[in-house]
């Protein structure tokens, strides 16, 4: 197979498998914060900042996958 075709397949696979874990993680985090706000609506302001920070950390994992995709596609020859 042509190398550039393999490169596109690798890019698709890398981002596809790479976002599975962060997707599950973000789902769990959202589930946890919704449950805790439903149980105690008055703590929303206190805990949502931790949720945003955690979501930023989780999202970074998906962005590492994107970084690998950029490396495969545009940087590595």
């Amino acid at each position: 197979m042509d190398l550039s075709v393999l490169k596109f397949i690798a890019m698709g696979l890398a981002i596809g498998f790479g976002v599975v874990g962060p997707g599950i993680g973000l789902g769990l985090a959202t589930k946890a914060i919704i449950e805790s706000i439903a149980r105690q609506p008055e703590v929303e302001g206190q805990i949502s900042k931790y949720f945003y920070i955690g979501a930023g950390l989780i999202e970074a994992c998906a962005i590492y996958a994107l970084l690998v995709v950029i490396l495969i596609g545009f940087v590595l020859k």
């Binding site: 920070i53 979501a55 970074a60 970084l67 950029i70 545009f74």
Partner: protein, 266 residues
């Protein structure tokens, strides 16, 4: 559609290859911070002006972050505030309309784009190395040579893993900030050029003749479509403002966690 990812306007200064676009935006960032800081503290009053109140709030927030660093914790506040202000200003000025600079011929925008200084890995790596050196030095200053005992902390064969931690921490700090900002730029670039790359004047004129029956002029439809297509990255731009704040906060909070881990008493 052409992509320019990770390309910079390289200028040779005194035998060093300098990324000129990054350098200019870095200096603009510094100028903004220094200007507002001087404006805020130049005329300190007991009843603060609005700008002074903003800066006092920032200082108060970061003082509360350093509470768990012991009695000497207060002196770590300046580096946290400096990192936060620098990163958030750097992230946010990437949203300014730098594309307008393409009209000036002496700026070689084809070789690289003016954007956030933090979308250059060299800048974020420098920040991460500053953090690494800072927390090691502050640990050594507090505990002397005993700081390095934590490498052998639970049992002796954990030493390689403890040393690996000092490599992984700055690496993830640098990559997280760099990749988040770069991903935002790429997303805005892709969405902004999406409609323009999909349609062509010929296709629009065929569409106007066959489907609309020639009731609208085709150039008019083409321009309207291009305008609506250029609005496509707007929601992403608003999201990027949020991301800029969150990433600056994450960087600063992780730094404070590393510093408090280094100065903690065992």
């Amino acid at each position: 559609m052409e992509f320019h990812i990770g390309q910079h306007w390289i200028v040779n200064l005194f035998g060093l290859n300098v990324h000129m676009d990054t350098l200019i935006t870095l200096w603009i960032t510094m100028a903004i911070i220094i200007f507002f800081a001087l404006l805020a503290v130049g005329n300190i009053k007991l009843i603060p002006s609005k700008l002074q109140a903003v800066f006092e709030n920032i200082v108060t927030i970061f003082l509360s972050l350093t509470k768990d660093m012991g009695s000497e914790g207060k002196k770590h506040t300046p580096i946290l505030i400096a990192l936060f202000l620098f990163i958030i200003t750097g992230n946010l000025i990437g949203q300014l309309p730098w594309k307008l600079l393409n009209f000036f011929p002496f700026i070689k925008a084809t070789e690289g784009e003016f954007a956030s200084p933090t979308n250059d890995i060299n800048v974020t790596a420098a920040l991460a190395i500053i953090v690494l050196i800072y927390y090691i030095v502050s640990g050594v200053r507090l505990k002397g040579i005993g700081y390095f005992k934590h490498y052998f902390q639970p049992v002796w064969f954990m030493t390689p893993f403890n040393m690996l931690e000092d490599v992984v921490r700055p690496l993830t700090l640098a990559l997280r900030l760099f990749a988040n900002i770069l991903a935002g730029e790429i997303l805005i670039m892709v969405l902004g050029g999406l409609i323009a790359s999909l349609i062509s004047p010929e296709a629009i004129s065929v569409f106007c003749q066959n489907t609309l029956g020639g009731i609208l002029p085709s150039s008019w439809v083409y321009n309207i479509t291009l305008f609506l297509g250029s609005l496509l990255p707007l929601p992403i731009m608003f999201f990027e403002i949020f991301v800029a704040f969150i990433q600056a906060l994450v960087f600063t909070l992780l730094t404070s966690a590393y510093i408090s881990g280094a100065v903690a008493k065992h």
